[in-house]
Point group: C2
Chain length 140, copies 2
DNA sequence: CTAATAGTCTACATATTTGGTATATTATGA
DNA sequence: TCATAATATACCAAATATGTAGACTATTAG
């Protein structure tokens, strides 16, 4: 399940993708228009900034804006930042591999074999979808 | 992420799929051999029984065994019982559809469009994999 | 019939995650 | 230098995940 945090993040990025590039949007406006709790959104945006997705300016005329063109932002990367690895078990994660704590012999693990397929299926969708594609159907 | 509960469930089902059909296995043996906390496992097995995956017998000579042939048990169904719907958002679930609480206009929701693809990708793997297939690589 | 066996039910306990708030502090531009 | 707006830190409450404890019930051997 996607967390609310991830949904808020995607909503915010779509919101920003709809505006002209490089023009800052106030957290407050974003929060109000998208009905997201402001203080919570602050932390989400900051996190996305720290990971290079967003950029910000302080003071008057400041706000948040995309750091890259929407076509260069992968939804998979956004969701990794928001919710952690895409993989359903750590032992099949591309970006955050770790052996499963309970697992005894990973090489022959039956769960791993199936979950690897699931991870790849998810990755194929999310790492081949850009913010631009996602935002394609603009509201008028 | 799969919960530990789901992993335990899969491990238990694989364990049972390895034995001759219809011969009961004690919760206690299963728990010990697979290193799963017994009381926790009890509830997991009971849940799988209630959903028709397992069958049990009480008293001496009792225990748990598969209610159907492994080829008729879908991993997707098992995971739904253990962890809930496969879909990353309720609005794209096949088995437990519900509108997302935060969502305003579902028809045009951009998140929904992407997540539907993800759900289908996951479903294609898990609803086409049987316990028999999963258990194919037997340990010797 | 009764004792041992083995699953079932209910209630707690405890840790982690999630979603959110409150209050400062820091940087920027007019 | 003042208003603005992002940043940082610390909390907090509710939900979920992962167990544990103990009583109860059904079954079978003898």
């Amino acid at each position: 399940m996607l967390t609310r945090r991830a949904k808020y993040g995607l909503i915010a990025l779509n919101h920003l993708a709809d505006r002209p590039a490089g023009i800052p949007v106030l957290i407050e406006d974003l929060a109000r228009e998208e009905r997201i709790p402001k203080k919570y959104l602050e932390r989400i945006l900051l996190d996305l900034k720290r990971h290079g997705i967003l950029q910000s300016r302080k003071g008057k005329g400041g706000g948040y804006f995309l750091n890259r063109h929407p076509r260069d932002i992968l939804i998979g990367d956004v969701l990794r930042i928001m919710d952690g690895p895409l993989a359903p078990v750590p032992c099949v994660s591309h970006t955050a591999y770790a052996p499963c704590p309970e697992c005894r012999e990973e090489a022959s693990c039956r769960i791993k074999k199936v979950m690897k397929k699931v991870r790849d299926a998810i990755g194929t969708v999310l790492d081949e979808t850009t913010l631009e594609q996602m935002a394609r159907n603009r509201r008028k």
